[in-house]
Amino acid sequence: MADLRINLAGIKSPNPFWLASAPPTNTGYQVQRAFESGWGGAVWKTLGDPIINTSSRFAAVHFNGHRVAGFNNIELITDRPLDVNLKEIYETKKLFPDRALVASLMVEPKREKWHEIVKKVEAVGVDGLELNFGCPHGMAERGMGSASGQQPDLVERQTYWVKEAARTPVIVKLTPNITDITATAIAAARGCADAISLINTINSLAGVDLDSWNTIPHVAGKGSHGGYCGPAVKPIALNMVAECARNAKVSIPISGIGGISDWKDAVEFLLMGATGVQVCTAVMHHGFRIVEEMIDGLTNYLDSKGIERVSDLVGRAVPRYTDWGNLDLNYAVTARINTETCINCNKCYIACEDTAHQCIERAQDEESGASYLKVREEDCVGCNLCAIVCPVEGAIDMVEQPAAGVPMSWNERQAAIAKLSMKGA
């Protein structure tokens, strides 16, 4: 059986699955239940000066009959007194010494405030700290959360203050509500962070009620933007993790977060450079037991591939992620429809005809008169649209074509043209 242990910047856990700082990690009771279910670690619900939460906090986006494609919340950090949280953290760590227990922190951007809270939480025996520079609502209006997380200089400075006082590893949690995620990731690294975690939630409004015209959710008839997470945000999070992983100036370990719902999502984050993952929405949807499915699936995947340690996956796909300018413009795939498997729904036909390159033909078998679909391969640009809309696995293959020439990327092409025009001049 594969070894699932991870070591994130010195924080060890028996498997890569941690609970993200959120409602599932509100209390000692919950975190202990989670550890009993098998979670490898947990980041405690963000500690700070207690706040007051609104009633009616969450909303979700359901997609075509499937519940919770995306999840939206206007909850703030912990609403429980610090000493109560600290006592429960202490008890939980004592009961589960082998799990990673990390405290998430958020205070005003003042040096003494950071020093004070760091000392308090480290005194109860946490394995690490996570700085919440990401909460997109409420706290931001008070200059905390994403308000500090959107400014690289504030990220760097506050990280540095924390590092002055901290003895345990410091993880900086990044907000995705920023144009270039590497700007704040580099700032965290410059502030001497031991690791980064991403993403926190994305600014969102889940919906508007068609009858009352209230926002969803609303609090006494008013709403404000919330934070979006769950399956829908996975591609955004995965890109941000990958961008950080391939940036040499970041070069600190990454804890991947955002839309991770099963072991397959987790493997993708690991391959794109995360050392471990954190999960919130999937647990809120299904309960702590979902980790059993994650652990089992990951173990079977590693065993089937003959990979001994989960840590051997980390970053293995990062070298394949690059700038668009480095992609080979002479590579080509074309669609091929397998008539045997095709169920003749014609979805690919109309997609290509109306919105792509008009290269799928509706043909008829001369003998049987049966209609079938056929790709005019010479006109197919290999956009994948037909294969995407096809509802049947294996009915459309994107087939690699013999190279039309030597590999040449846009950057290489521009460089070659520049050389030529220099010669010509």
């Binding site: 499937h66 099963d262 072991w263 397959k264 299904h286 309960g287 037991r289 979902i290 059993e292 499915e293 089992d296 699936g297 079977n300 995947y301 089937s304 509802p391 049947v392 696995e393």
Partner: protein, 453 residues
Amino acid sequence: MFISEDALKRNFAEVKAGLRPKQAFEEAHRCLYCYDAPCIKACPTGINIPSFIKRISNKNMLGAARTILEANPMGASCARVCPTEELCEGACVLNDSSKPILIGDLQRFATDWAIRNNQQLFASGERNGRTVAVVGGGPAGLSAARELARFGFTVTVFEAKSQAGGLNTYGIVSFRLPQEIALWEVEQVRRLGVDIRTNVVVGRDVTADELLGTYDTVVLAVGMSKVPTLGIAGEELDGVYDAIELVESTKVSLSGELSGRRVVVIGAGNTAIDAATCSVRMGAEHVEICYRRSKQEMTAYEFEYEFAKSDGVAFRWLTAPVRIIGDEQGRVKAIECVRMKLEPADSGRRARPVTIPGSEFTIEADAVIKAIGQTRHVPLVEQFQLAHTRGIVTIDNETYQTSNPKVYAAGDVIFGEGQGDAMVVSAVQQGKLAAFAIYKQLVLDDPDGGSQT
């Protein structure tokens, strides 16, 4: 009338096709992954159904198969023969708001994957130095043997027939449960190092005393025996069959013996239905089931009844056999029956059928199949000197221990009135529980248990 070999093969091939991958994934995604799910409670072996279905939707087929077979060593057979409407699927919360998840079919999808990929899913435990003899290699015995092997016991199974698997191998019609599925499950147990000795009849080839003297513990899992006699004239005639033997003959090799025949089946339990549908598939011209009570009292499941009807089987209610009539060659040519009426019985019991005098009539028939339940292995039970009621071995309801502390019993051998239906899945669970009780008795509760001797 002649039925071709090809037609026979076609008739006895598994009726139901497995789910196709897309169907399976769509169905798996429909599962709500309930917490403390009622389907788990409704499964006698307690398979964690939401978990295995989640694993299917996560494309973790190995994990799905293991979840099923961990709880139920005969999970592949059960996926086909369990009355799921009465068990897991009947408990699905979607029954009221939509339609229940096809749990049996998904279970088959996952276990078929394991069979196709020839997966070895479990390993035997570290040897604990204790030995157990399991008498009978049916679902109950195999389930006990597998669990005992995983607990580290050295296990020997004694099986009278040439193959193990019990009624899964020989008794449940091929078109519902192909033999290779049952034999794959047998092989899984054998691969844990369990010594399965076939063609050994305990009580004849090896005695009870020999087993009790040689092994630390014995598990008695011999199931039930033949169909009892009807107690009417003409039973010895050529053309009178025992339903279980008839089904068994079709599991061993297919013949067109009944082709073109008019068949009357006596009884209306699931065995009667199997005998009837089997006859249809062997080419019988006309098959009817006679039952002395009415449809309400029939013990066959509704889906079995529907299946028989769709196979063209006719039903005659409130009809009891009086005698079987033969021709000069000693072959069945007709059966004389009498009409019955129901009289309310003492509280709690089924209505009592009584004959209507003078209502006798005959049905022309070439074959009569007896399917009125099964007799017990009384001589063997007595050779073990176990307490029993008409052959139903008495046990402690929690530990499955018999009146002899060295002997445990599981499966149909302990199945008695008032215990629901005899089902593969219950036999499997009893085997598992007996194995655990043995482990507890011999290893956990024993100060020097579990040590190598």
